[in-house]
Point group: C2
Chain length 361, copies 2
C-alpha cells in the first residue's frame, strides 16, 4: 500500500507489464520472471498460477527490455551485397527467394527471426537494429559492413565462400567448379563439340569461379572458349547477350547459362536463328525455377540447392551466436544437382532428316 501502486502504472501505457502481473498474482516480479521463463526454484502450482494471470492480463514481455538485459535480440540479419549497383536485388531470382525462405524457416525453428537488410543501406539503419548475427549472401571482396560487424564481435556467416581476406565466422557454398565441369562433361557426352558460356560481368565468387572452371575445361579439352558476358542484374541484357552468343561466327552447339533467366532467353534466341533444341543446340542453365520443366523443350537445369544452403547458413550462424561448438564444419560445401531434361539429352538416332533452316525473320 505504501510503496508502488502497480495498477496505476500498468494502465498508464495500455499494456500490462511484469509488475502488473506480479501484483495481480500476489507475487514478486522476480517470481513472475522465473515462472514465465522456467527458471528459479518454484513449485508447479506457482508457475501455473503466474502463467494463468499473465495470460488473463494479455501480458507480453517487452522484447526491447529483454534484449537490453540479456544482450540477445533473437534477430538475424539477411543481406545481399552483389549484383551490381541495383539498390536492392534481393529475390531477383528464384534462388534468393528459395534461400531466404529456407533460412527464415530454419531461423524460426530455433526461435530467431530474420531482418532483411540490403548492404547498400546506410550505416544508421544497420546500427538501428540489434542483431545477434548476420547472413551475408555473396559478400564482395572487402565488404566494409562485414568487417565492421566482425570487429564488433557479431558473427557473420556467408553464403558463398568469402573472397580475399574477408573475416567471416563460417561459410557455405557449392562446389561451383565441379558443377561447371560436370555440366560441360555432360554436354560433351551428349555430343557437343563447341560449348559456349553465358556469364556475368560482376566479380562475385560464383561468376568468377564458374567462368574460371569453364576456361579451365576448355583449355584441358582444347576447345576455344566461346562466351558472352553481361550485367546479370539487368533483366534485358540477358536476352541480348544470348542473342549475341548465338550470332557469333563460331556459334556454339551447346550453351551453359550461369543465370536463372538464361534458359528462356537462350531458347528464344535459338528460335530466332532457327536452331532446334536439342538437335542443333544443347542447353543447360543454372536455375531453381520450375518453369523449365514445362518449356518446349524442357530445359536441363543445375540446382544450387538454395534451401539446403539457407538452412545450413542459419544453423551455422545460430551455433556461433549461442557459442555452441556444433562440431559442424565452419566451411560447408553443398552438392549441386543436375536435373537432366530434354534440352541436353543425347540426340536419338535421326529417323527424319530435317534440313537446317536459315535465321528466322
Amino acid at each position: 500500500m505504501s510503496r508502488t501502486e502497480p495498477s496505476r502504472r500498468g494502465s498508464r501505457h495500455g499494456r500490462a507489464g511484469i509488475r502488473d502481473v506480479a501484483a495481480a498474482a500476489g507475487v514478486s516480479i522476480t517470481t513472475v520472471s522465473d515462472a514465465l521463463n522456467g527458471k528459479g526454484r518454484l513449485p508447479d502450482a506457482t508457475r501455473r498460477h503466474v502463467r494463468e494471470v499473465a495470460d488473463r492480463l494479455g501480458y507480453r514481455p517487452s522484447a526491447a527490455a529483454r534484449t537490453l538485459r540479456t544482450g540477445k535480440s533473437g534477430l538475424i540479419g539477411l543481406t545481399v551485397t552483389t549484383y551490381g549497383d541495383e539498390p536492392f536485388t534481393f529475390t531477383e531470382f528464384a534462388y534468393f527467394a528459395e534461400m531466404a525462405r529456407a533460412a527464415t524457416s530454419a531461423a524460426l525453428a530455433r526461435g530467431y527471426a530474420l531482418v532483411i537488410l540490403p548492404a547498400t543501406s546506410r550505416h544508421d539503419v544497420w546500427s538501428n537494429v540489434a542483431l545477434d548475427g548476420t547472413v551475408v549472401i555473396d559478400p564482395s571482396d572487402h565488404d566494409p559492413v562485414v568487417s565492421d560487424l566482425v570487429r564488433q564481435g557479431i558473427p557473420v556467416v556467408s553464403d558463398g565462400r568469402p573472397a580475399g581476406t574477408l573475416p567471416v565466422t563460417a561459410w557455405v557454398d557449392n562446389d561451383h567448379e565441379a558443377a561447371v565441369l560436370g555440366i560441360l562433361d555432360h554436354l560433351a557426352a551428349a555430343g557437343a563439340r563447341r560449348i559456349g558460356l553465358l556469364t556475368g560481368t560482376s566479380t562475385d565468387t560464383y561468376t568468377r569461379l564458374s567462368t574460371h572452371a569453364y576456361l579451365h575445361w576448355c583449355e584441358r579439352v582444347g576447345q576455344d572458349p566461346v562466351y558472352e558476358k553481361y550485367p546479370a542484374h539487368d533483366p534485358c541484357a540477358g536476352a541480348v547477350a544470348a542473342d549475341r552468343l548465338l550470332a557469333r561466327p563460331d556459334r556454339p552447339d551447346a550453351v551453359y547459362g550461369l543465370f536463372d533467366p538464361n534458359g528462356t532467353d537462350l531458347l528464344a534466341a535459338a528460335r530466332r536463328y532457327g536452331l532446334r533444341v536439342p538437335d542443333d543446340l544443347l542447353l543447360v542453365c543454372c536455375s531453381e525455377s520450375t518453369v523449365y520443366a514445362t518449356t518446349e523443350p524442357p530445359i536441363t537445369t543445375l540446382s544450387l540447392k538454395p534451401r539446403r544452403i539457407g538452412t545450413a547458413v542459419v544453423q551455422l550462424l545460430i551455433d556461433a551466436i549461442e557459442g555452441l561448438d556444433s562440431g559442424r564444419p565452419v566451411e560447408q560445401v553443398i552438392p549441386t544437382e543436375l536435373i537432366v531434361r530434354t534440352s541436353s539429352q543425347r540426340r536419338p538416332p535421326r529417323t527424319t532428316v530435317s534440313p537446317p533452316r536459315g535465321p528466322a525473320g
Copy 2:
C-alpha cells in the same frame, strides 16, 4: 576520479558505450546523446567534437536501449498468412518477391527495417521482437494474430482487403473484379467464344473475388462457366488442373489462369492436345514473371503491380506508426496492368494455311 571509471566499464563489454564517448570527449552523456541526435542547445563545435570522438571509438548506440527508452524499434513485420498449410509459402511466386522487395526499399528509405514473420509461427516468436507495426499479406478471415496485434495498439496494414470484420488500420489492394472483367472482355474481343478459368481452392480474397467476377461475367454474357480449381500452393497440382481443363468435353477456346505458373502449365497442356496458341487457344495469366515475354508464344499477363502495392502498404503503415495524418486514404486501390502479348492477340488474317496437327506425342 572518485566516481566511475568509464574506461574500465567500457572495455568490459568490448564495445564502447555512450559513457566511454562522454569520458573521452570530456563531456556528459547528456551532451553526447544530444550531439549525436541533433537535439539540445549545443554549439556546433561541441557537436563536431563529440561526433568525432564517437567515430574514433567506433561507437554504435545500442538499439535495444534506445528502443526500450523511446518505445520505437524501427522494425516492421512482414507476414504471409494464406496459401494453404504450407509452413511458409512466402516468395513462392514472383509476386511476393517483388512486393517484399519494394516494401523493404520503401521501409529502408524511411529508416525502418523489415522482419519476415510467417503467421504460422508460434506466438513466442512474435512477442520476441519489438515491432512498430506489421504488414500482413492476404490476411485470412479472422486472423488471430492480427486481432492480437491491433488489441495491443500496433498498427496493421494489409495487402489485400481484409475479409469479414478484421480490424486493420489500413489496406491496399487491386480491383480484382475489374481486372478479371477486363481480361474476359479482352479475350472476347479477340474472338473467344468460351472462356475458361484456372482458379484456386483456397478462400483468400484474391481467389474469391476473381472467381466471383468470372462467374458474374459468364452470367452476364450467357456463357456456361468452365473452370478448374486446384490448391494453389502445390506446384504440381497446377499442371494437372491445366490438363484437366483442356481435356474437358466443353473445352474452352481461351483460358485465364489466376496464378503465376499457370501460363507455362497451360502452354504445355495445350501442346499436349495439339492446340496452337493463340490460334486454337487464347491464353492469359496473372503473373509478374518476365519469362512470359520470351515463351513461345509470348503470353499475355496481368500484373498486379506488386511494387506499387509493397510501397503503398509500407507508406501507410509508417504514417500510422508515426501518427502523421498523411491525407492518404487508408483504403487504396492500385490499378492492374494487362501486358498484351501474342497469346491473346486477335488472330491476324491468315496468309499461310497451316494444317492443324493431331495431338502431339
